[in-house]
């Protein structure tokens, strides 16, 4: 039980500050590279960027143990990277190459990785919640101490699967950490235009689930809340619901002209962005120094360049293997 105890408290020292800052910068620069590769048509399909929301993945993942499970959405590059899916494998997946983390079959929206128990990459809004409930049900029946972390946006709260899943998880006291990334827009539909009750965490509370609303732009608050929640879940208190209030700085996908919101609104949120805010604070607190940031940027740039080169050099799966992995051990 000592490990659980030490794991719940956040001791913000220099090395932790550097780690969290690097995690966020790493996601940001990786996705900026993806956007660039998208314009070069190296990456195709839909590409949903997480820019602005990095504090959530960067803060939640350290609260999980290696044997825990993660269920994410189609905006999941950041989650995969912080969870430990190698950047090379993520980038190769974006290219659709056989060296990708889903062997190229999934693409940007369907990153899967068995070694880190990363269960996708689900592109049906709300579709991952019942799966997370089931993973947690298995853990409960197997009397394991594992937790399943389930990420989704506030748009999912309008789906039936959201309500069915919260009810099941609460009814059966399952070890699920529900993480709502409330970025205020379900694609182009503002929260107030789609929900009669805009306080998402109140919905969870109505299912008798412990829930909190947290500043999702502050990585320290994000992590503290996640550690509190994971500790409660491991202590057998059932599911926990965290609503992180955040904002997506870029378009919903690469096809979005953003006709539904003002440039001014985006600017205001950018000013309180998770990276700039944490970096300024950590520098003022003398935890980090400007040359630390330069080193992080340099390290991240070379990792991304290597990942892009890895993906570029990757191989295309032979067309002869087209129907592989539809069912186990054979073709349909």
């Amino acid at each position: 039980m000592t490990t659980e105890k030490t794991n719940t408290k956040l001791h913000l020292d220099r090395s932790l500050a550097l780690e969290r800052l690097k995690a966020m910068i790493r996601i940001r620069r990786f996705e900026e590279k993806c956007a660039e590769l998208y314009t070069q048509e190296k990456i195709r399909g839909f590409l949903h960027l997480y820019v602005g929301e990095e504090a959530i993945a960067a803060g939640v993942m350290p609260a999980l143990d290696a044997e825990d499970a993660v269920v994410a959405t189609y905006r999941e590059h950041g989650h995969a990277l912080v969870r430990g899916v190698p950047m090379n494998a993520v980038m190769a997946e974006m290219y659709g190459k056989a060296e990708g983390c889903s062997r190229g079959r999934g693409g940007s929206m369907h990153l899967f990785h068995e070694p880190t128990r990363f269960y996708g990459g689900n592109a049906i809004v709300g579709g991952g919640l019942p799966i997370a409930v089931g993973l947690a049900l298995a853990d409960k029946m197997l009397e394991s101490k594992r937790v399943t972390a389930c990420f989704f946006g506030e748009g999912a709260a309008a789906e039936g699967e959201f309500h069915e899943s919260l009810n099941l998880a609460a009814l059966w006291k399952l070890p699920v950490l529900f993480i709502c990334e409330n970025n205020l827009y379900a694609m182009g539909t503002a929260l107030a235009r789609s929900e009669s009750e805009t306080d998402i965490h109140a919905k969870a509370a109505s299912y008798q689930i412990q829930s909190e609303s947290v500043d999702g732009m502050n990585v320290v608050d994000v992590e503290s809340a996640a550690r509190r929640a994971v500790a409660a879940i491991r202590a057998g208190q059932g599911p926990y619901f965290l609503e992180y209030r955040t904002y997506r700085f870029r378009a919903h996908s690469m096809f979005d002209a953003q006709l539904y919101r003002d440039a001014q609104e985006i600017k205001e949120w950018e000013a309180k962005g998770p990276i700039v805010r944490f970096q300024d604070w950590a520098e003022a607190a003398n935890l980090i120094h400007p040359d630390d940031v330069e080193k992080i940027e340099a390290d991240v740039a070379s990792e991304i360049a290597a990942a892009a080169a890895f993906a570029e050099a990757g191989t295309w799966e032979p067309v002869a293997d087209l129907t592989r992995d539809v069912i186990t051990g054979g073709k349909q």
Binding site: R103, G104, Y119, L135, L137, A138, D139, E161, R324, D325
Partner: protein, 322 residues
């Protein structure tokens, strides 16, 4: 050799699976305290307890998805959905997750999930409890679709489905639950069709609840000197092409009997495969006996008229023979 009903055979299969593997559990609406909508799971709660015979809220998508998650997490869940019409509320989970996760993950994750549901008409349950959509599900790569029609299959297919590493759907026709028979073989394969009545003049291809009507039709035809071969498809996905084509090559004539609606039906698929694989062997166009294109009506006489019945099968066979 035990005499029992189809329902009892399915129940016995559950008991044996639950006893054989502690990862197996059953969940669904009213499977526990109520004993199952069609009484399949009656008594299982008392024997195995509420952890393994798990009543769920009315949330088909939620508990079917939970079955997928539990399968990913190392369990061997059996999800019971009351009727095929209710399975449409879980279609997102079945199609977008169960059928795709192995492929989308590049083969990293399997979904060893069994979903059972009642299907078919004949009990005057009208247009929201009576449809036969198994042919629809057979459209979806990544799923296996089973339609047990006999006592042996009612028992054996559950074990075979649980042993399969991928999602398997089992469709139990509601008219079969009370049907008695002898349990002879306890092990069933889930890859092949079966010849239920050998014959040389025409092949009647069917599955599920229509098997017994088709066998009845074959006896009527026999009395009139026509020797029909009856094939029970058993597995709608993947289809046993070889068995279908071998029979048609022998009889040179075929009629497909399918409780689904005709347009875009499984019967259409079987007919197309015969055309592709045995066109030059045919002496007549492939015939079809399907459900009339109407939501299933409540009154008995209209429900009967909507469904494939033995006299219509006899007429279709005679028409193919000319």
């Amino acid at each position: 050799m035990t005499e029992l009903t189809y329902r009892e055979a399915v129940r016995q299969a559950h008991k044996d699976a639950l006893n054989a593997d502690e990862r197996v559990f059953l969940m669904g609406e009213d499977v526990g305290q109520y004993g199952g909508c069609y009484a399949v799971s009656k008594g299982l709660l008392e024997e195995f307890g509420p952890e393994r015979i798990r009543d769920t809220p009315l949330s088909e998508s939620g508990f079917t998805g939970a079955g997928i998650g539990a399968a990913l997490g190392g369990m061997r869940p059996i999800v019971e959905i009351m009727t095929v019409n209710f399975s449409l509320l879980a279609l997102d989970q079945i199609l977008n997750n169960a059928a795709t996760i192995r492929h989308m993950s590049g083969g990293q994750f399997n979904v060893p999930l069994v979903i059972r549901m009642a299907t078919g008409a004949g009990r005057q349950l009208a247009a929201q409890h009576s449809h036969s959509l198994e042919g629809w599900y057979a459209h979806i790569p990544g799923l296996k679709v089973l339609t047990p029609a006999t006592i042996d299959d009612a028992y054996g297919m559950l074990g075979a489905a649980l042993a399969d590493p991928d999602p398997v759907l089992i469709f139990e026709n509601v008219m079969l639950y009370n049907r008695p028979g002898i349990l002879e073989a306890r092990v069933a394969d889930i890859a092949s069709a079966a010849v239920r009545r050998p014959g040389k003049d025409i092949t009647l291809i069917t599955y599920g609840g229509s098997l017994w009507k088709t066998l009845e039709a074959a006896e009527t035809l026999a009395a009139e000197g026509i020797d029909a071969e009856v094939i029970d498809l058993r597995v709608l996905r993947p289809l046993d092409n070889a068995a279908i084509l071998a029979s048609v090559a022998k009889t040179r004539r075929a009629v497909v009997i399918d409780e689904g609606w005709r347009s875009g039906s499984l019967a259409a698929e079987v007919s197309a495969r015969i055309m592709e694989g045995a066109f030059w062997e045919l002496d007549a166009p492939v015939g079809r006996v399907c459900t009339a294109e109407v939501p299933i009506p409540y009154p008995k006489h209209l429900e009967d008229a909507a469904l494939p019945q033995a006299p219509v099968i006899v007429a279709a066979a005679k028409s193919a023979i000319g």
